[in-house]
């Protein structure tokens, strides 16, 4: 066991971790931040995406010990200061970008990473960026639309499905 210390959503946290503990488990079980989901556990689905030092990573495929000293951001850190939903989250709600919601945390984290890099992506760029995020429910269309809307682009012409 070693003690791992990192900043999670702006707060410094420490926890015991065996070297083999994955970042996803450190967050979910150690920190009780269960918004980060484990879908496939084989780095396919993207439900577990969090940001480490500003970059999207699959927390099921990174060791907690590798995040020592890192700045980690999870879905729990995405809302505005006053607790209201962030622009991306609100857009997912407004445009029905989720159904069961299982993939949503990962989708929002990937969307946030994309928009930080590319503030006005086109539809193709969004679909490409979401290659590693799988949704079992929505058919993706409304997720893409929500991200377009969150980036301030007009989505009125995109079919409502």
């Amino acid at each position: 066991m070693t003690t791992v210390t990192m900043t999670v959503n702006g707060r410094e946290v420490s926890g015991e971790a065996e070297p083999r503990m994955l970042l996803a488990h450190f967050l979910r079980e150690g920190q009780r931040l269960t918004g980060t989901h484990l879908g496939c556990d084989t780095s396919q689905c993207g439900a577990c995406v969090v940001h480490v030092d500003g970059r999207a990573v699959k927390s099921c495929t990174m060791l907690a010990v590798e995040a020592e000293g890192a700045e980690v951001r999870t879905i729990e850190g995405m809302a505005n200061q006053d607790g209201s939903l962030s622009v991306i989250q609100q857009a997912f709600q407004d445009h029905h970008g989720l159904q069961c919601g299982f993939c949503t945390a990962g989708m929002v984290m990937s969307a946030a990473a994309l928009l930080a890099d590319n503030p006005k992506p086109d539809e193709r760029e969004i679909r490409e960026y979401l290659e590693g995020n799988i949704c079992r429910c929505t058919g993706y269309h409304n997720i893409v639309k929500a991200i377009m809307a969150a980036s301030g682009q007009d989505v009125s012409a995109m079919a409502a499905e």
Binding site: T2, E18, P19, R20, L22, D41, T42, S43, Q44, G46, V49, V52, R55, A56, V57, K58, T61, M62, L63, V65, E66, E68, S110, A113, L114, Y129, E131, G132, N133
Partner: protein
């Protein structure tokens, strides 16, 4: 995954020391190794993380014009920083896996693993790149020794890869959408001394050079130069995603596309 010890040295020297232990295994970005360990297909006693070694990260230009990429550099960084120098290589890096995988996976890790369907081995072979390790320099043509096998010795670390920059190049990846590896991938690179063509995803021996195409394209750098060539299906991978004949056919199609798209 089974329990293991973990070390995170901050210098190449210290990493080499730590890897002298027979039970130790280097950890790059972990995008292949961790899933493999989780399936219990690998169970190293110690993981030696290379992610704390700053001198192994980054992209720069050598005096001879070669593009140097630190072995610990992520695919995302290569995609971004090599774009202006070697667009064919940057384009290849930009399509490995998915964005989250590209943020963790490293060029050194990919090459050391030499997956027969991986993209980077194709770029290294097509470029005639040189692999720099903690102890020597290995030419691309001597590095790949068949599926998941390389010239690396036990504990040897890829610290840097040097790519001669071609006049024109392109990588065409026919993606296998479930794994996001190449079903077949072909890289074409045109140098003053001739054209090199490398193929991944197709052969049971791993990445290889298509020398007939190299000859034809060196005489005439046009897709039409390939029209009379055929690739034999012998020794090609056959699986549920594509037969050997299908892969052999794809090689020619993709090589042609790569020539047309080369920039």
């Amino acid at each position: 995954m089974y329990a293991f010890e973990f070390q995170k040295p901050t210098s190449i020297q210290a990493a080499v020391e730590a890897l002298k232990d027979d039970e130790a295994q280097a950890l790059g970005g972990g995008q292949t190794l961790l899933p493999t360990m989780r399936q219990r297909l690998a169970s190293p006693g110690t993981l030696v993380s290379l992610s704390g070694i700053a001198e192994m990260r980054g992209v720069c230009r050598a005096d001879d014009g070669a593009l140097c990429i630190g072995g610990g550099t992520s695919h995302a960084v290569v995609a971004q920083e090599a774009a202006g120098i070697y667009p064919g290589l940057a384009g290849l890096a930009a399509r490995i896996g998915d964005p989250a995988v590209r943020n963790r996976g490293t060029i050194g890790g990919s090459l050391a693993n030499n997956d027969p369907s991986a993209c980077y081995p194709c770029a290294v072979l097509a470029s005639g790149a040189r692999i720099i390790t903690d102890r020597r320099e290995i030419a691309a043509d001597d590095f790949f020794e068949g599926m998941f096998t390389t010239a690396l010795e036990q504990g040897e670390i890829i610290t840097e890869v040097r790519f001669p920059v071609p006049e024109a190049s392109n990588y065409q990846k026919f993606i296998q959408p479930a794994s996001r590896f190449a079903l077949v991938g072909v890289m074409v690179a045109k140098y003053a001394g001739g054209v090199r063509v490398a193929v991944t995803g197709a052969s049971e021996e791993g990445v290889f050079r298509w020398t007939e195409a190299e000859k034809a394209l060196s005489d005439n750098f046009a897709a039409s130069a390939l029209k009379d060539l055929t690739v034999s299906a012998d020794g090609m991978i056959a699986d549920m995603h594509g037969s050997a004949a299908y892969r052999a056919h794809l090689i020619k199609v993709l090589a042609g596309r790569a020539v047309e798209a080369a920039a």
